[in-house]
């Protein structure tokens, strides 16, 4: 009895030592091959999927030099927070963050920072961007301005608009609205008739805009969707009401495939958010921190690779990816590119 206990203990000790050795070995192997965790909003919206696909096709991820793990935040701030804890305890070399919530995102980043894990922001923001090592995004206030201006100009600078808002409290909603409101000041003859959230959802926007068109017959001259999905829903509502979409300007942001197709038909306006640049640029920035100053970035968006965005040795805190207005001239090329994404 005593003997068997002893044996068992010895075995357990041996096993423990073995596991520890394995863990050390694994940690050692990791030092040579950087591991990056990407905590994204969700993997069931098109933009996030495009982002993740772009991240996975970063040249260094593709050839196996870098290991990338994409974690699906399921549109939930708490899920993302838990994923941060996992990434920290698993000792990832860097975390790329596309936060769900502008404020709830601060705390996990702070924890990563305290644990010495660099965090790079991408796409959407947290309110305290000082916590980031660097962040790369497109300026959503700018998007709001482009969006509003495109609709207001097509309305001839006067008339009534309705605004379909994104999920309240997310940085894209907050900042795009800020841009829309700033633009409204330059157009004193534009009146906002209605303004309400459809939670980024096409089906919700469809019902909402149908109801608005009923509430204000022949009084809505323009429709602003804070993203493309909702703008497409609005467009369908316009058509379902028997109205001519070419006479009621509808615009959205993101450049999702359906929006590109609608632009091609001349039924709406959209502005493309460059998922490739934001995703691959973020990986470059992360590797810049991990590998040091002599790291050579791979994404096409950087000036060193012939793009429009200055790399500057990866030393900047903030990188702003330019918006691409979708027009009749570039829509074919964008659609062709989408097929490869």
């Amino acid at each position: 009895m005593a003997r068997s206990t002893l044996t068992r203990r010895t075995l357990a000790a041996l096993a423990g030592a073995g596991l520890a050795a394995l863990a050390v070995g694994a940690a050692h192997a990791d030092a040579a091959k950087p591991r990056i965790a990407a905590v994204v909003q969700s993997l069931d919206t098109e933009f996030n999927v495009l982002w993740a696909n772009a991240a996975n096709s970063h040249p260094l991820v593709k050839d196996g030099t870098v290991t990338l793990t994409v974690l699906d935040g399921r549109m939930d701030a708490l899920t993302q927070s838990n994923q941060f804890d996992t990434a920290i305890s698993e000792k990832y070399d860097a975390i790329i963050f596309v936060p769900v919530d502008i404020n709830a995102g601060n705390d996990p980043v702070e924890r990563a920072k305290a644990a010495g894990v660099p965090v790079i922001g991408s796409n959407t923001l947290i309110s305290n961007t000082d916590l980031y090592n660097a962040y790369i995004s497109s300026n959503d206030v700018e998007a709001g301005k482009i969006l509003a201006k495109s609709v207001f100009d097509k309305m001839g600078g006067k008339g009534n608009v309705v605004i379909v808002e994104g999920m309240i409290g997310q940085s894209a909603q907050v900042q795009r609205l800020e841009g829309i409101e700033a633009t409204l000041k330059d157009y004193p003859d534009i009146k906002v008739l209605e303004q309400k959230t459809a939670n980024w959802s096409r089906a919700e926007a469809l019902s909402l805009v149908e109801n608005w068109l009923t509430a204000h017959p022949d009084q809505i001259q323009g429709i602003i969707g804070e993203n493309d999905e909702m703008a497409i829903g609005a467009l369908e509502a316009v058509k379902a009401h028997g109205l001519d979409p070419k006479k009621i300007p509808v615009a959205g942001v993101d450049g999702v495939t359906d929006a590109l197709l609608a632009v091609q038909r001349g039924e709406m306006m959209s502005t493309l958010q460059d998922a490739d640049a934001q995703a691959q640029g973020a990986i470059d920035l992360a590797l810049g921190v991990v590998r040091g100053a002599d790291y050579k970035p791979q994404a096409k968006v950087w000036d060193v690779n012939g793009g429009q965005l200055g790399w500057d040795g990866g030393k900047q805190k903030q990188y702003s990816v330019p918006w691409v207005p979708v027009t009749g001239d570039n829509v074919e090329a964008l659609l062709a590119m989408r097929k490869t994404q």
Partner: protein
């Protein structure tokens, strides 16, 4: 003295009669009151265009709620309908995208078959293996959503053929196609529940499984069949939603199970089974529909809509309880 007691008795009877009247027609009366209020509150509420709108907006939840009525009548529940709708939608969408040669009717049928397959799994788990319906369909809610995302790669499937989209956007004699489908489903469901042996079995199983079995009713088959029906109807709703939004959306139908259950509960169908009707479910679905339409028309924040919808569900269940206690 005798006069007094007589008047007490008659007051009591009157009270009971009123109670019975209210529990029987309460939902209908609430609906009519709501309808009249909204008609006065906004000039366009009663316009033909708006009524058409509301009916079209209600049709998807209405179809789900009709299936859910069958499930709840047997004392079950199906939480997977939103995900079932989505998986059926992307399968249908994939058959009619980019000028594919598939007949839209084939895509529509495919959606119903996919939904039916999901329902078959649910029904087998519940009826054959005795897994609690809540658990089985909760698992399916997650599995079917995952399957949707896998199948569609998490992206909308665009470019659906115009003939397919007609099923969501078209009209026949001024009536939207989804409304026609919805009403057809309703009429058939109403007849089945009211006039067929199968309909009586559904009520009997929900009322008391043991005595139903003793009476020779194939209880397992009946329970299996309601999940199959629910799945097929969710597939049908998925095809309509897809045709309506012009793309198959992988995130379609999130939370739709709650609206479907709400319509059934507001309609007074008992969650313990055996009591209720699709007629009242129809009114429940209409109540949810006109509230959200009416509040949109009046420009009320969507936050209030959620509060109001929740309050109505609770009140409906309270009425339902009083009916049980005071038969």
């Amino acid at each position: 003295m005798s006069d007094l007691s007589a008047s007490t008795v008659s007051a009591d009877t009157r009270g009971r009669a009123l109670g019975r009247f209210l529990s029987r027609y309460g939902i209908l009366i609430s609906f009519l009151i709501l309808f009249v209020i909204l008609s006065f509150a906004h000039p366009n509420f009663l316009s033909t265009g708006n009524i058409t709108n509301v009916l079209r907006q209600v049709s998807i939840n209405g179809i789900l709620a009709i299936g859910m009525t069958f499930v709840i009548l047997t004392g079950g529940i199906d939480l997977s309908v939103g995900s079932t709708l989505a998986v059926a939608g992307v399968v249908a969408g994939s058959l009619v995208t980019g000028g594919e040669p598939f007949n839209p009717a084939v895509a529509f049928l495919a959606a119903i078959v996919v939904g039916g397959l999901v329902g078959t799994v649910n029904g087998t788990l519940v009826a054959r293996f005795g897994v609690p319906a809540f658990v089985a369909t909760l698992g399916m809610l997650s599995m079917a959503r995952g399957a949707t995302l896998l199948y569609s790669d998490g992206r909308p499937i665009p470019n659906l053929s115009p003939a397919f989209r007609w099923l969501g956007q078209g009209f026949v004699a001024g009536v939207p196609v989804p409304v026609i489908i919805f009403l057809a489903v309703f009429v058939v469901a109403w007849i089945v529940l009211r006039f067929t042996v199968y309909g009586r079995w559904v009520y009997a199983v929900g009322g008391n499984v043991k005595s139903a079995r003793t009476a020779g009713i194939p209880t397992r088959s009946v329970i299996f069949s309601v999940y199959l029906l629910m799945g097929a109807l969710a597939g049908l709703a998925g095809a309509i939603l897809t045709a309506r939004t012009t793309s198959a959306l992988p995130q379609a139908g999130l939370g739709y199970e709650l609206d479907a259950i709400a319509a059934v509960v507001i309609g007074g169908t008992s969650l313990t089974g055996g009591l209720g009707s699709v007629g009242y479910t129809l009114i429940g679905a209409l109540i949810i529909g006109i509230i959200s339409n009416g509040l949109d028309l009046m420009g009320v924040s969507s936050y209030y809509q959620q509060v109001i919808k929740g309050a109505i569900i609770v009140v409906a269940v309270l009425v339902d309880r009083s009916r049980h206690m005071n038969p």
